[in-house]
């Protein structure tokens, strides 16, 4: 045995990804790469008005086109596709996959075409003529709340999707409200910061647009549906329910998925229509979204307005926080729409000891594309609002932004920390993360550098933000789908390992990280482990990948399933080696009695014995396969600190990001290389929001940023080299100690950049700038300062 190299422990190492060979050679299979004999293509005719009654749909020309199989209006589709369900408990207006009589946003589907190929399908869709009786559109959410000039859904007066939900100090479980504490906090304030802040609308913009292939096989009575989704098991549940099929009769597959960022959680009308039409027509149906459609038909993110009031003493001690949130739902509730602002509410406590907090959430319909989850989903909004307010407080008190935070941080010995918002923060050391960020950024020197630049007339500013977010979603009480994750582990007869996970990845690298975990758990080479995912025909159960839950919840399920199989395998090994199962060691591809590696068996020999168990050890069934559901007792609460430096061109107002330092604490890390990639990606989206991204509508409800020529997602030239570091504070919530990291980058970056812009323009008396930092907006501030 001495000649066999010892297998290195893989967890914690920067292992290059096992997914990559197929991806870097163009050999991966995304939805649009799937072809099935007899497959026809689906295209949607979409509304070009934001609000109107459909008076006539002329499908004659389209129907007569060569190659067109079928054309359906919304009313015809509604005969076999019921209104779409949502995943939140709030009342919601009916939402048809294809509008039946009224359109409520530009881009809403009004008719569909099935045709031989995508070109013919598109031609035919374009040839459908729809007449509308136009209704006034409302795009501004505060305007919408007046009920003027239009009410979008008749049973929702003043366009209130969710009239008002209170939370925080003094709010009872029955929503009874006691104002004593919050009134006292503000009465005792020496300084109050009050600011209206808009967290603007964003287009998630996965580079792979959405797509679906639905294949109903009438002979089997079974449906297979491939979709670019983050959660194939939820898709299966919904497709089955909407098509009168059992969940056993639907197989949902997420093949290679080209990014999601929250926008591929929702189950969309296009998926329902493709499935239903495949069943109706008995043929495979493919629909692939083009980018112009993606801008109007894929859910948007953020779009929430806040009125923030922060009460403090002049030494920086925070006394109370009032946060009035008004969220823009868009025209309809989607799967999780109504729940996203409640996550903002949940995280309103941020990293601080705040004696009294009052938050209210109101959600409003407008004639715009529906909103839903986008990376961070509710938590970046909370962080942004609170961190902006903390920054304004520091500026008002002429305190260093780090000092005002230090004054108010929850202390390490206070965890678990129950907030007034109902969250129980699991573990943390916020000051440690901030101190490391300050050290890495050379904060003191950086301030001197800024001051020197300013003295020369340059507009240079520094920003700092800390964050805590809620990840590892979550206990089943918090998700309508259930909050667990599932995994199955099988030792094959040849000693190789197959494992399944319900955490369906779309870039997160689970095949690598989960492989690392199992290789270590069983003491076998990584190459002997295969991680299967994204197919409900293979993965028995699952929830999906969102809310930074893959590792914390899915990884733990894998670990538990592996543990069960390992325990059984130890029993077989004990029988073979005539030893106690408690003394069995798995290491280096061998299974042996502690202290006697030479007399053991190879991993494969023990596996083979388990499948031909002669003799069968008493009390054991043959085989090595088991599964686990992991239900976390709580969420996890990662945290960190981001620091940025920007310069604004005095003549043009153009901002340039000079520096971004991030310290993130996601608990224990499985693969630091992949973690870095996740943080980089989150930073890019957070910086994108702060600096260049915004979905803009005109007053008629027409989106005027409906292409990548008008909606700016960041390019490589928009960023400096990010400077990353981490602290490690494990969570007690799961045995891995892992908290989750997929969204972290979007949390701290956004407020720290706006803080830096305000700092850069401080000479003009500005205390807050709404995102994004459009040069024109900054230029006007500079000009105003001069006049």
């Amino acid at each position: 045995m001495a000649t066999t190299p010892v297998l290195p422990k893989l967890v914690g190492q920067r292992i290059k990804r096992r997914e990559d060979p197929r991806l870097i050679q163009g050999k991966a299979t995304y939805v649009d790469d799937i072809k099935i004999a007899g497959m026809q293509h689906l295209a949607f005719k979409r509304s070009d008005v934001a609000h109107g009654r459909i008076t006539k749909i002329d499908v004659g020309v389209a129907q007569a086109m060569e190659g067109v199989e079928a054309v359906y209006t919304g009313a015809q589709i509604a005969a076999f596709v019921p209104p779409m369900p949502i995943g939140t408990p709030f009342p919601s207006p009916p939402h048809h996959a294809v509008a039946t009589d009224t359109v409520r946003y530009a881009g809403e589907a009004v008719a569909v075409v099935v045709a031989r190929d995508r070109y013919v399908a598109r031609d035919a869709a374009d040839a459908i003529v729809v007449s509308y009786e136009r209704l006034p559109a409302v795009v501004d959410l505060e305007q919408a709340m007046t009920g003027k000039p239009t009410v979008i859904h008749q049973d929702f007066p003043n366009n209130l999707a969710v009239p008002l939900v209170p939370g925080g100090t003094g709010v009872g479980a029955d929503s009874s409200v006691d104002d004593t504490a919050i009134t006292k906090a503000f009465a005792g304030a020496e300084v109050v910061i009050s600011q209206r802040m808009m967290n603007q609308r964003l287009a998630p913009s996965a580079i792979e647009p959405r797509g679906v292939v639905a294949h109903f096989e009438p002979g089997k009575g079974a449906m297979t549906i491939w979709s670019s989704t983050q959660n194939p098991h939820i898709l299966r549940t919904m497709i089955a329910a909407m098509n009168g099929l059992g969940q056993d009769q639907v197989r949902a597959i997420a093949p290679e998925v080209g990014g999601g960022f929250g926008a591929k959680i929702n189950i969309y009308g296009e998926e329902y229509v493709a499935a239903a039409l495949s069943k109706q027509l008995g043929i495979p149906i493919k629909w692939i979204e083009d980018r112009s459609e993606a801008f109007v038909a894929t859910t948007h993110g953020r779009d929430i307005l806040a009125y923030v009031d922060l009460a403090a003493k002049r030494d920086g001690t925070v006394l109370g926080l009032k946060l009035r949130l008004i969220a823009d739902v868009g025209a309809y509730n989607m799967l999780l729409t109504a729940a996203i602002p409640t996550l903002t509410m949940l995280m309103a406590n941020a990293c601080y000891r705040i004696p009294a907090i009052r938050v209210t959430v109101t959600e409003v319909f407008t004639n715009k594309t529906p909103t839903d989850a986008y990376r961070g989903a509710g938590r970046p909004e909370a962080t942004y609002f609170i961190e902006r307010a903390m920054d304004m407080l520091a500026r008002e008190l002429k305190m260093d932004p780090a000092d005002v935070r230090r004054k108010n941080f929850i202390q390490p010995d206070q965890f678990p920390f129950a907030t007034p918002m109902g969250a129980v923060y699991d573990s943390g050391d916020y000051e440690k993360a901030m101190d490391l960020a300050l050290k890495n950024a050379k904060w003191t020197e950086l301030k001197a550098e800024r001051d020197a630049a300013k003295a020369k007339g340059r507009l240079v500013g520094l920003g700092l933000a800390t964050y805590v977010e809620v990840c590892g979603l979550g206990p089943s009480s918090s998700l309508p789908t259930g909050g667990w994750e599932h995994s199955g582990v099988t030792i094959e007869r040849d000693g190789r390992i197959s494992a399944t996970t319900g955490a369906s990845p779309h870039g997160q690298g689970n095949e690598t990280t989960f492989g690392q975990m199992l290789a270590d758990q069983f003491g076998v080479p990584l190459e002997h482990v295969t991680i299967l995912h994204g197919d409900t025909g293979v993965v028995k159960q699952g929830i999906g990948t969102f809310g930074s839950r893959s590792q914390a919840v899915g990884g733990t399920a894998l670990h538990l399933a592996g543990g069960k199989v390992k325990a059984k395998m130890a029993k077989f090994a004990a029988a073979l080696l005539e030893a106690s199962e408690d003394d069995i060691v798995f290491e280096n591809g061998r299974v042996f009695v502690k202290g006697a590696p030479a007399s053991g068996k190879s991993f494969a020999e023990v596996a083979a014995y388990a499948y031909v168990p002669v003799p069968l050890p008493p009390g054991l069934e043959p085989g090595l396969s088991d599964e686990a559901f992991f239900e976390p007792a709580n969420n996890t609460y990662p945290f960190g600190c981001h620091i940025s430096m920007i310069e604004i061109d005095r003549e043009t107002g153009e901002p340039t990001l000079l520096k971004l330092v991030a310290v993130d604490d996601a608990g224990n890390l499985i693969n630091p290389l992949i973690v870095e990639g996740q943080i980089h990606g989150g930073l890019a989206q957070g910086i994108g929001q702060a600096m260049i991204e915004e979905v803009v509508y005109n007053s008629d409800g027409q989106m005027i940023t409906g292409s990548f020529m008008d909606y700016a997602i960041p390019r490589a030239t928009d960023f400096p080299r990010f400077e990353l570091d981490s602290t490690v504070t494990p969570t007690p919530v799961n045995p891995l100690g892992a908290k989750g990291v997929g969204e972290a980058g979007t949390l701290g970056s956004t407020p720290c950049i706006v803080a830096a812009a305000v700092d850069a323009l401080s000479e003009f008396g500005v205390t807050h700038i709404d995102m994004m930092l459009r040069p024109e907006k900054l230029w006007r501030i500079i000009q105003g300062g001069r006049s």
Binding site: Q25, K27, I207, R291, I713, F719
Partner: protein, 153 residues
């Protein structure tokens, strides 16, 4: 219909195509070279980037008929004799991809960049791939990947 003859990854391909057929669709639908992806309608994202006569080009903005007589390399044609191209290797080693959807186009743009400038600075790399969107990585590991590949040449 129009007849085209295009050399793709070393093989001459003759086909009858609709004059409006995009080169990207010709590659994907007719030749089944699905490594070339489509991410936008406006030539912004670069997922469809291939080499046309040795220069990077966005194949969603070229009709197949315009490519008649040209020589095209797609991501599938980059590895030689089972050996990954230095850029493919670099993207793998440096974790230059996550969902992988932008990756083929990103790599083809980087091939063009290193052909023009075998030892680019970081800024030149960032400018060289500015025609390709990646929504996952924040680009830093992509820059590292290109540096990794440049260092091996």
């Amino acid at each position: 219909m129009a007849q085209v003859s295009i050399t793709v990854n070393g093989k001459v391909r003759k086909a009858d195509v609709e004059p409006r057929l995009l080169l990207a669709h010709f590659l994907r639908e007719q030749l089944l070279l699905t490594g070339t992806h489509i991410g936008c309608d406006t030539s912004q994202c670069g997922a469809c980037t291939v080499l046309v006569d040795g220069r990077s080009a966005k194949s969603c903005t070229i009709f197949a008929v315009q490519a008649d007589g040209s020589t095209i390399t797609t991501i599938e044609g980059l590895a030689r004799d089972g050996q990954l191209h230095a850029l493919q290797q670099g993207f793998w080693e440096e974790h230059g991809l996550q969902c992988g959807y932008c990756t083929p186009g990103m790599i083809m743009s980087a091939v063009n960049l290193l052909n023009d400038n075998p030892a680019p600075t970081e800024q030149q790399i960032r400018e060289g791939i500015a025609g390709n969107f990646c929504r996952c990585t924040g680009y830093q590991h992509i820059v590292n990947a290109v540096q990794n590949a440049a260092g091996k040449r």
